[in-house]
Symmetry: C2
Subunit: 145 residues, 2 copies
């Protein structure tokens, strides 16, 4: 059971931006360099984070990206819900492709759904600010990357 790289990278961009001063602008190349992730991936990720209202882009020669909200107002459960393609833990979670004959009588979906809700409920209790409590160390690690 894994999250997509897309979710991983989205959270990394948010953590990077949250480690900076509120008004400071960063750029995608800088984020790509510190994490060793392709700039192309991060452009998609940043575009989607922008659509979600978590990141804003300032255009122009001195432009860049920064958080659009306080880190304490960016909920991790909400981000993960958006960035994951789906939470189709097993085939019967997706009625469009499900071919499992026992779906109407099987108790598995209920159990897995309850587990999934417990998982997301934990993430709903975290905001971005909880992930960057140690900003000084984060910035040192970024500087040495």
């Amino acid at each position: 059971m894994r999250l997509t790289n897309y979710t991983d990278y989205s959270l990394r961009v948010l953590i990077f931006l949250a480690s900076k001063e509120k008004t400071q602008l960063s750029n995608i190349k800088e984020v790509a360099d510190v994490y060793g992730i392709s700039k192309n991936h991060l452009m998609k990720v940043t575009y989607e984070l922008g659509k979600m209202g978590a990141v804003e882009t300032v255009r122009g020669r001195n432009g860049g990206i920064r958080l659009a909200k306080e880190p304490g107002d960016i909920n991790i459960g909400q981000i993960v819900r958006h960035t994951e393609d789906d939470f189709n833990l097993v085939e019967c979670f997706n009625p469009d492709i499900n071919q499992c004959v026992i779906t109407p009588a099987c108790g598995l979906r209920h159990a897995l759904n309850e587990a999934l809700q417990a998982y997301l409920k934990v993430l709903d209790q975290y905001t971005l600010s909880d992930l960057v409590t140690n900003k000084a160390t984060l910035n040192r690690l970024f500087a040495n990357a």
Copy 2:
């Protein structure tokens, strides 16, 4: 976020066997046919379920497979822990491949790990018998497949 097909198929085999009478022997072809899953996949799955002590194989011309334990003694959390390749939700869960520079100072792993534990804790509360409370309907659906 998805479970592997391997976990899905393992649970399906167990549900099939749990829907039968305790001593009744089934065969892999029969399970493959009702679910429309390749027999090769199910042979691997059944072999691993045997190693886990959940399924037993009776050899010989009239042989077959059946549960090795009562359904109430087969814990779903334990099965999923065994059948999933890993629970490396993001890169830093796997120290062998992790290259994320902020690992020592980042709060993400803690949050995701707490969510994962909540997920598994729910599954630990379920046994195979909870998934097959409706045996009559299950057997009707298998018969019509």
